[in-house]
Amino acid sequence: MQEGTIISARDLDLYYGENQALKKISLEIPERQVTALIGPSGCGKSTFLKTLNRMNDLVPHVRIEGLVEYRGQDIYMPKLDVTWLRRHVGMVFQKANPFPMSIYDNIAYGPRTHGIRSRKALDEIVERSLRGAAIWDEVKDRLKKPALSLSGGQQQRICIARALAVEPDVLLMDEATSALDPISTSKIEDLIADLKKQYTIIIVTHNMQQAVRISDKCAFFLMGQLVEFGDTTQLFSMPQDKRTEEYITGRFG
């Protein structure tokens, strides 16, 4: 594993039953940078993202070969505590999915399941997480209100705050802004730029302009293979592989 790598995949194969969705993926994710995964629908980018905190465990008939390491730890070793992994490698989904409870309880949910009971400690975590997700000022006077009463963009930031509450190391974001309007999208993009000072962020996006705007590194997936991985500016101005060029210039299919 290279220095500065936080997550590394080596020769990763993933099968859904007979169907191979990932083929020999080897990729090193740099720490405290934004890595974007791009590619057409069905290319394996979301599948790859989900292997990084074992969300694919929930999918029936899934089979994984190869190695994924988080800070040098094989995350598919049999005795690994998946809760431990997901505490360190958090996830935000395409559709904001706050729990049907108050804003406060949404954020406090994770810390509580990890055994934190003190009101004072929880108050601190809630405020710090909401500030971290750039939504504190908008909700500080209505923490007891249902999270579902907020707008879509606010709900998504609540979900980010909820992910931050357990103090993760890595944030996985699967199309986290695709259901949001441009203003909410721009708030979350700004937020990602701030968060990378402290966290490693991996995003899946269909919006190539977004990948260009916010990512440092970019990986292009096609039919289960990693075609190209490199600096975002390099990949979008002078891609090395013809298939990357064809995809990003819209010459595909």
């Binding site: 979008f236 101005s237 002078m238 060029e245 990003i248 210039t249 819209g250 010459r251």
Partner: protein, 216 residues
């Protein structure tokens, strides 16, 4: 897929080729006005350069529109951004030709000029460099672009030769000093035109290789 965009990129190439041809024609015309000591031809050269200003604005607008609407990537991005830079160099070539046309007026009013073969050769080489640099961009030919860069040395050498000769003329014949200075200035303008052609060639190279060359 992306039929319109491809057509617009093609149009951009055509417009740049047209503006390159206008630059060539401006150089040829202004040199003809000098050798013939003809103010009318100088006016014609000025009119071409005015038209080039309009072409520049048109190409710029198209590039900005393409950047906004198509948000080009990879080779497309390099094609549009190179065009945006090249068009500035082409317009500067127009400016240099306009400057020479003003000098041509001045020389004609003073009663004609001495034929100066090296200046004509410089002008021909500079015009040819402009043509080749645009052709290299249109054909995505980095080799052709590199040859334009090499040609610049020939123009630089000619400039030094012309300058040396005219300085000698001034020393020998003081009555021709004014004219000699004017010719040196014209030679300098032509040398600058060749430099702009080198810039254009370097943007053509960037378009192919993605590498921005150091300015000389």
């Amino acid at each position: 897929m992306r039929k319109n965009f491809d057509e617009e990129l093609l149009e951009l190439s055509t417009l740049l080729t047209e503006m390159g041809a206008a630059a060539e024609s401006a150089i040829d015309t202004v040199i003809a006005s000098l050798t013939d000591a003809n103010s009318e031809i100088a006016e014609k050269a000025l009119a071409i350069t005015k038209n080039m200003d309009q072409m520049e604005r048109d190409i710029e607008n198209r590039c900005l529109k393409l950047l906004l609407r198509q948000q080009p990537m990879a080779h497309d991005l390099r094609t549009v951004s190179a065009a945006l830079k090249m068009v500035t160099d082409l317009q500067r070539i127009g400016d240099q030709c306009a400057n020479i046309a003003e000098m041509s007026h001045l020389l004609t009013s003073r009663g004609g000029m001495v034929k100066h073969e090296e200046i004509r050769t410089m002008a021909q080489k500079a015009a040819s460099m402009v043509k080749q640099s645009i052709a290299a961009y249109v054909a995505h030919d980095a080799g052709a672009a590199a040859r334009v860069v090499e040609l610049d040395d020939e123009v630089d050498d000619l400039f030094l030769a012309v300058k040396g000769e005219l300085v000698e003329l001034m020393v020998k014949n003081r009555s021709q000093a004014d004219q000699a200075i004017d010719l040196i200035i014209i030679a300098k303008y032509l040398e600058r035109i060749a430099d702009h052609a080198v810039n254009i060639a370097q943007w053509a190279t960037y378009c192919v290789t993605g590498e921005i060359q150091p300015t000389n």
